[in-house]
């Protein structure tokens, strides 16, 4: 019989309210949200009240609760590593950390050591890596023995608020508006790092399925306010990554692979809505197959967590892969910054 797994959520902002709670509501037979923790007491109370959970402004009682098996980290990026280490030390079975996993290599090293020592299953909210249509078409691609010559990730998104309004009634305290800093090299590097760790990171696990190393970065262009255009190559495979947000148009989020005989095109649904899986097309010279499923990547991710925690299933994306994905992101940042500095 399936057990109901207890969940404690750290950070109750828009990702918790618009993504995780609506997703968990579709899996109520598998999960019970026991704690909602947020430093803002009004946010913690309001969000906890919606799911009949206990509100807290402190992480200690969440970690001390023996009925909480899974910790979800949706707090600011700078707290991710510290909270992962605390959850490991508290003996939790699994951790789902939102992207990015950490801020730097030192933090990544500490996480690697902690999850190994405590035997914790580590998941990152890279939902496209669990998208069932992508997984199906990726498996077909491998079975076909395709040789990938180009991997192209392209992200054009309107403001997150567009989708959040469509998925929930957000409760939060508004942050004060800040004046944008001057357009200097340091500012561009900071924004590029932020875009690579905040946006590109979504598809890095998918890119790495076909393109495991950053290789040589040939060019990078920082797109303000938030985006990038860059290209790299390693041996005979090229990778192109472009992104821009916020735009005043509908979203277009795609991953394209060019192989010897086939082309693979994946069009992802927005992550803030339960809009089903991506639509993935495997195109041959005289054929085309379309893959699409009812569940999106977050739903599959959560079901996977249940299978691992309650059923003892192996992690489909191992801790080592999750950590390597993050290293790839940092390698992209380092290579980009070096190119930008070389030009100045």
């Amino acid at each position: 019989m399936m057990g109901r797994v207890g969940v404690g959520i750290l950070g109750a902002g828009q990702v918790t309210q618009a993504i995780h709670l609506p997703t968990l509501a579709t899996l109520a037979d598998r999960f019970g949200v026991r704690w909602i923790m947020d430093v803002d007491p009004a946010v913690a109370e309001n969000v906890a009240g919606r799911v009949n959970a206990i509100a807290s402004i402190d992480i200690a009682p969440v970690l001390e609760d023996p009925d909480v098996a899974v910790i979800v980290i949706c707090s600011p990026n700078g707290l991710h590593a510290e909270q992962i280490l605390a959850a490991c030390a508290a003996g939790k079975k699994a951790i789902l950390c939102e992207k990015p996993l950490a801020c730097n290599r030192k933090e990544k090293g500490a996480i690697e050591e902690a999850v190994r020592r405590h035997g914790v299953s580590l998941f990152v909210g890279t939902m496209h890596a669990y998208d069932p249509a992508y997984r199906a078409v990726q498996s077909e691609w491998v079975d076909l023995g395709e040789n990938t010559s180009l991997v192209h990730s392209s992200i054009c998104l309107p403001a997150n608020s567009v989708f959040i309004e469509q998925s929930t009634e957000l409760f939060m305290t508004l942050a004060a508006k800040r004046e944008p800093p001057a357009d200097t090299l340091e500012f561009r590097q900071f924004m590029l790092r932020s875009a690579l760790l905040g946006l590109a990171i979504h598809d890095i696990p998918l890119i790495r399925d076909f393109y495991p190393q950053v290789g040589t970065m040939h060019n990078v262009h920082s797109v303000l306010p938030y985006g990038y255009a860059l290209n790299t190559s390693h041996e005979n495979t090229r990778a192109i990554m472009t992104a821009f947000t916020p735009g005043q148009w509908s979203s277009r989020w795609s991953l394209t692979l060019i192989g010897n005989e086939h082309t693979l095109e994946v069009a992802f649904t927005p992550s803030y809505v339960l809009g089903g899986s991506s639509r993935a097309r495997l195109i041959g010279r005289n054929s085309e197959r379309v893959f699409h499923f009812e569940e999106n990547g977050y739903q599959v991710l959560w079901r996977t967590i249940h299978d691992v925690v309650d059923g003892g299933a192996p992690q489909p994306i191992a801790n080592g892969t999750v950590l390597d994905d993050f290293s790839f992101a940092l390698d992209l940042v380092d290579a980009s910054h070096s190119l930008m500095e070389g030009r100045s």
Partner: protein, 251 residues
């Protein structure tokens, strides 16, 4: 009824044969000439017979394989003060779309698959399409070559291609904060239409499909030019700019 305008084939028939007859798909108002004089000359880039062009009395030169044209040939064609219409495979399929370009794009990208193995052929086509979509080529540039293709980046513009790979196709996207323009163009030897989709605040508009070979679209443009109803959308000056730009990567 007016007699058809006469085309003098100065390619020795090679070009018409190698293009699967696509170039021979003339509108009724055009016809091949069996003499050395006429209204339009068909020449091939890289081996333009200037003496034949000058003595033919033509008013317009249709330039096949424009990617093979040398800068010297471009100078000499310019000196003749004739109108020149380069034959491109992908760009003509955008000509029927109204105002397809994006103002001040933040990035543009294009990927092409072509049957040939010449970088210049794919690159000229891509640059011409992206410029028509609003791309401005500036910023630090790079060129990366692999056995099967290339990636070129100039600022926020990224062009990649896979060579010797069919069916021929060109995808492109130009993105600004208020407009996103996407095109998917099947190769010139097919009459399949381009898909042209424009996303703006609150709307996505898709152009009506037009099932016509690129070559036929080129001949129509030539006809409109000679009948003074519309100037050529792409001529000698644009070709020179594009060739010079593309050569800057390859030399």
């Amino acid at each position: 009824m007016k007699p058809p305008l006469k085309i003098v084939d100065m390619t020795g028939g090679d070009f018409r044969r190698t293009q699967d007859g696509a170039v021979a798909m003339l509108p009724l108002s055009l016809a091949w000439s069996d003499r050395r004089q006429g209204d339009i000359a068909l020449v091939v880039g890289g081996r333009v017979d200037f003496a034949a062009v000058e003595s033919s009395g033509v008013r317009l030169v249709v330039l096949a394989d424009p990617w093979k044209t040398t800068l010297d040939e471009l100078d000499r064609l310019s000196a003749l003060e004739l109108i020149v219409c380069p034959v491109l495979s992908f760009l003509p399929k955008l000509w029927h779309a109204d105002q397809p370009s994006v103002e001040a794009p933040v990035f543009c990208e294009s990927h092409a698959c072509i049957a040939g193995d010449e970088i210049m052929e794919a690159l000229i086509e891509q640059v011409a399409v992206l410029r028509a979509m609003g791309a401005e080529f500036r910023g630090p540039s790079s060129f990366a070559r692999t056995t099967r293709g290339y990636t070129i980046q100039s600022g926020g513009n990224i062009l990649s291609a896979d060579l010797e790979k069919g069916p021929a196709r060109l995808n492109a996207q130009a993105v600004s904060a208020t407009m996103r323009l996407e095109v998917v163009i099947p190769g010139g030897a097919s009459a399949r239409p381009a898909r042209i989709r424009r996303a703006t605040p609150g709307a996505i508009a898709e152009c009506k499909p037009r099932f016509e070979h690129s070559a036929r679209l080129v001949w129509r443009a030539v006809l409109r030019q000679l009948e003074h109803t519309a100037p050529l959308p792409y001529g000698l000056h644009q070709l020179r700019d594009d060739i010079e730009y593309c050569q800057s990567f390859l030399h």
